[in-house]
Amino acid sequence: MISVKNLNKSFNGKSVLNDISVTFETGKTNLIIGRSGSGKTVLLKSIVGLHEVDSGEIWFEDTLFNKLDFKDRKDIRSEMGMLFQGSALFDSLTAEQNVRFPLDMFTDKSPEEKNERVNFCLNRVNIINANKLFPAELSGGMKKRVAIARAISLNPKYLFCDEPNSGLDPITAILIDELIKELTEEYSMTTIVNTHDMNSVMEIGEKIIFISDGIKCWEGNKNEILHSDCGTLNDFVFANSLAKKLRTTNK
């Protein structure tokens, strides 16, 4: 479980997150949704400590994470996996070496055990025959999947995904959503996913928060989201024409 309490964050005096409080639950896929520029990435990066917050508390179970120094954070970080918006694979390493990197750095496994784990993770995300390719030689969707494999290689307790399926075709996008959901349940991780894709929301949204201009406007699940009375959320949910039609026929 991860709890955020009264979190504020600004850049050069410009407020980006405004008094956000929310609890993300274990074993569930928690979604942060909102329009481009609403502050999703900043919120996620603040939670994991890549941005220092101005005020507020971030709890990982019973540990007040944002007050720890670099050394003490390491223990919790070793249980985190993160998928970045741009994949962030290491350019100089092959797909396989990218997945192996955390194992080399933080475990004392034998080379055979590491190989086995690497292959397992790559299989899990359906990367086949691309183990020896460099990130520059992979397609966008493959990069995302290798990045997921790297994020789960150490069996993390916490998984963070920043727009895991942006820029992918609808079928691959759903595959990646399902993969994240399955992994979350299989290993009962606390997963937080940023997205602005309504398909993902309806597919995997067990717990959803909606932020607009850095303010949390709404919280609920995928069944409730279609019937909220929050105006900005409705604009967001019913932005595409298909959803609009559905809504008018339902009325």
């Binding site: 990066k45 994991v48 890549l50 670099f70 390491k74 970080r77 741009g86 290491f90 350019d91 750095m105």
Partner: protein, 242 residues
Amino acid sequence: MQIGLYFLLLKKVFSKPEKPSIYYRQTIKEFVYLGLNSIGILSIISFFMGAVITLQTAYNMENPIYPTYLIGLGCRDSIILEFSSTVAALILAGKVGSNIASEIGTMRVTEQIDALEIMGVNSASYLILPKIIATLIFNPILTLICIIVGIFGGWIAGTLSGVITSENFIYGIQYAFIPYYITYSLIKTVFFAFIITSVSAFQGYYVDGGSLEVGQASTKAVVYSSVVILLFNVILTQLLLS
């Protein structure tokens, strides 16, 4: 403000590595990448600098009362004292410095540094320490190569153009030889290596933005490390030769 940040970064770089074996592997990679790959360009430049210095010395001392072996001596001392350390360092600032800044800067803007941090890796140390160690060890070797190739270039140019005989040149490069000059040159090189690597890495590590900023950081890396090298050249010369 920048200088404070620079020293904070150095502190992070020199904290205890999490896994020495991985650092060792990275350092070997950097030997090849930053060291071996610089031998070619430095050898070519050294050769021609040695040649030009010899010819210029020869044509500037037409007066027959000076013995010609002084040409060899002039070539030797110019190469050892200034060229092999300072000029070579300026060339390396251009080649290695811009390379380091753009590599680390790209990792910053593509979130690869964030990815390291999130795993709990000390990104500053992991990315920068192997480069510093590799250049501190390898650059003195480059300096020695520059000295040898530079003097060889002088010998070739001097004998082929006929301004000096082979015997006189060889006598000249041994005449009144002060071994300490080589030590002086090597000490300067070690300082310059540290300046190039740390200043360039600093520029790359704190890039904020996109590819445009990475380009600017790599230019700044070359400019700042060159200026600092020239400044330290004066200071070190005063300390070591006075």
